[in-house]
């Protein structure tokens, strides 16, 4: 059994004392930062990335994966207790989770969310382990034309689920692609758009872009609002164990959420966000006579989206690990992190570095387990953290961001670049342009150009190559179909409703 052998290798890597420690530290500080309102997994990952530079690549990735789950889970805690989504994928959890907290069932909501996430994480990990092999084989059939078409599909998929204007989201992607091209062109050696600034010849650092656009812009936007009274359910977390009826309702919801989330996570553009929205809608559709109604603290409204977003978060690793193509902004950051550690993501990682590949997969499960062990007993500490006033929090966040950006290249210029992207991010915030597609485009820009060039070179300049190769054609047809479907009037109205319902 290959699967068993692979998982054995994985667990032997992940269970080494140091890697266990890194997974633990990752999950711990990920939760610590993720709990803070308004800081999602993207900003958390960007901020904590520097803490992994000194580690060897396997440990660094294990720790980063831990940070990601931690941040994701911390966001749910904030959603339930304060009604502020730490990140977009826990927006849905706010609706029923906060209402449960108001009814004195905060503990139960937190436990359901933790156990549901753990179950979904276990299933997600098994799916990755079984699908990774076949996916890698498929990936080796991919030529440059297929890669290019796949990236087109991925980028289109990413905008379809962005809330708000479709055209604006596509424009953000294109802008991201262009920004990603700044720096020395690998083929000709020309330093593009560097304006004789030596630091720009190496390209714009993606950490700076992510931190500026997500972290700094968010802080400035938060400072616009007066620090109001946040109603935190600190003393009334209540009993952690869900009662019998809640169990009865939650278990099927967890199963449905896990199944839906696992499928949606693999899709290009999918991942945690899409999964949580879709599963909440599904629960509302199929539950007859919900008691209490959805939106007033129904446990299904916590169980399903929380399982779905964790399953989606897991399975979105599949395209990233096997094809080297990130399906969403978080995975784009993971790709960036791998590149910093000199690992070129793609199908060759599994064969050239099996202990890293399977170790990472095994550590995903361990990370999920740690979250359950960590979060339920430590919930009191996270609650205390929510009481820290924002005026003390944001300077601390800035300090860690600035040191993080500086230490990538030991370069002060990168810090100023981050400030510039902070300004741009604030303008985007005012203009209601979603920044996530920009980050995805930014990471994919150089890859897309490289594959476009190769495909066109092989076809001697004939652009029909993208339509004559069956795999490539299939991918492009799928991309076109996505655009058409979303543009259809009745669907676009439904799409707006779906996003509004949650606002």
């Amino acid at each position: 059994m290959d699967l068993i052998n692979n998982l054995t290798l994985g667990f032997s890597t992940a269970l080494s004392l140091s890697n266990l420690l890194y997974a633990f530290i990752g999950a711990l500080i990920g939760t610590l930062i993720g709990v803070l309102p308004g800081i999602g997994p993207i900003a958390t990952l960007a901020m904590l990335l520097p803490t992994t530079y000194a580690l060897e690549p396997t440990s660094a990735l294990i720790m980063l994966a831990g940070i990601y789950y931690g941040a994701q889970y911390g966001g749910s805690t904030t959603a339930i207790l304060v009604n502020i989504p730490g990140e977009s994928s826990s927006v849905v959890t706010c609706i029923d989770g906060y209402q449960m907290a108001r009814r004195g069932r905060a503990g139960s909501a937190l436990a359901v969310s933790a156990l549901g996430s753990f179950f979904a994480g276990t299933v997600g990990t098994l799916i990755i382990a079984t699908l990774a092999g076949p996916m890698v084989e498929l990936a080796f059939k991919f030529g440059p034309a297929e890669y290019f078409s796949l990236m087109v599909l991925g980028l289109i998929g990413a905008v379809v689920l962005a809330s708000g204007s479709l055209v604006k989201a596509i424009a953000m992607i294109v802008l991201g692609l262009l920004l990603g091209l700044v720096g020395t062109d690998v083929n000709s050696g020309v330093a593009r758009y560097s304006f004789d600034i030596p630091e720009l010849a190496d390209g714009i650092g993606f950490v700076g872009v992510a931190m500026g656009v997500f972290g700094f812009a968010e802080i400035i936007a938060n400072l616009e609002q007066k620090e109001g009274e946040r109603l935190v359910f600190t003393d009334k977390v209540g009993k952690l164990w869900p009662n019998r009826q809640e169990f009865f309702y939650a278990i099927p919801a967890v199963l449905r959420g896990t199944a839906l989330g696992s499928v949606l996570g693999v899709l290009p553009g999918g991942g945690a966000l899409l999964a949580s929205f879709a599963s909440y809608t599904l629960e509302k559709k199929i539950t007859r006579n919900p008691d209490p109604p959805f939106g007033q603290g129904n446990v299904r409204g916590v169980a399903a989206p929380e399982s779905a977003n964790n399953a989606g978060a897991q399975t979105s690793f599949i395209p990233m690990l096997t094809l080297g193509i990130p399906p969403n902004a978080v995975m784009a950051l993971m790709v960036g992190a791998m590149t910093i550690h000199n690992i070129q993501p793609g199908p060759q990682v599994m064969s050239s570095n099996p202990s890293l590949f399977w170790g990472l997969i095994a550590s995903m499960w361990i990370g999920n387990l740690m979250l359950v062990i960590l979060n339920l007993p430590l919930i009191g500490i996270w609650v205390q953290l929510l009481k820290v006033p924002y005026r003390l929090l944001y300077p601390a966040i800035l300090v860690f961001c600035c040191i993080g950006v500086y230490t990538i290249n030991n370069n002060s210029f990168d810090v100023s670049i981050t400030a510039a992207f902070g300004l741009l991010g604030y303008v985007f915030y005012k203009l209601r342009c979603e920044p996530a597609p920009l980050i995805l485009g930014f990471i994919l820009g150089p890859m897309m150009e490289e594959n476009l060039r190769r495909a066109m070179l092989l076809s001697r300049g004939d652009p029909t190559v993208f339509f004559t190769r069956p795999l490539s054609l299939t991918l492009l047809v799928m991309a076109a179909a996505l655009v058409v479907i979303v543009a259809l009037p009745q669907i676009s109205r439904r799409r707006e409703e779906a996003f509004q319902e949650v606002d």
Binding site: T51, Y53, A54, S165, V167, K168, I170, A171, V174, L175, L177, L178, L181, D185, N187, S188, V190, R192, Y193, F216, I219, I220, L223, E224, K226, E227, Y390, R391, L392, Y394, P395, L398, V399, C401, C402, I403, Y406, T407, N410, S412, F413, V415, S416, T418, A419, G422, L423, Y426, V427, K430, L431, R432, E449, L452, R453, M456, L457, S459, R460, G461
Partner: protein, 153 residues
């Protein structure tokens, strides 16, 4: 003509301007041919696409039925103080060392909030300095100058 959706109108202008910027500066580089693309090829292509998308977004903001999209007020105080603090950190780090840069970052950025309490800011600076020293310098062994340049050997 009337701008019905200011957010979309200015987004369109911004996208078109970015697109034009990338096209104009791509002219300095070699275009190449479709089979052998030069460094200017892909950026010019994308820049053109971005200009088109920008015009599309802008045009739709003028059409009847464009949703209401007022741009809320820009808050320049937090904007300038937060970003200024970040730039100050970058500028001060090499000559002044980590401790000076950190104090500047915390001090200036704290002015951006709606309440400023000197005592809290000083305590926060000391706490963060100790934390950063423990994690990044002693823990991870990163080579960041800690003391001002004139105090280093």
């Amino acid at each position: 003509m009337q701008i019905r959706n200011a957010q979309d109108f200015w987004s369109g202008v911004l996208f078109a301007a970015f697109g034009a910027f990338f096209i104009i500066f791509a002219r300095e580089y070699d275009m190449g041919s479709a089979a052998r693309m030069g460094p200017a090829f892909f950026p010019t292509m994308l820049g053109g696409l971005l200009v088109l998308l920008g015009i599309l977004v802008g045009a739709r903001s003028l059409a009847a039925g464009a949703g209401d999209g007022k741009i809320s007020r820009f808050h320049f105080k937090p904007l300038l103080l937060v970003l200024g603090a970040v730039i100050a950190f970058g500028v001060l780090l090499r000559p002044g060392g980590l401790l000076v840069a950190l104090a500047a970052l915390v001090g200036i950025s704290s002015l951006g909030g709606d309440q400023f309490r000197l005592r809290d800011v000083v305590l926060l600076t000391i706490l963060l300095a100790l934390l950063v020293l423990a994690v990044f310098i002693w823990g991870l062994g990163m080579t960041i100058p800690v003391l001002p340049a004139f105090m280093q050997d």
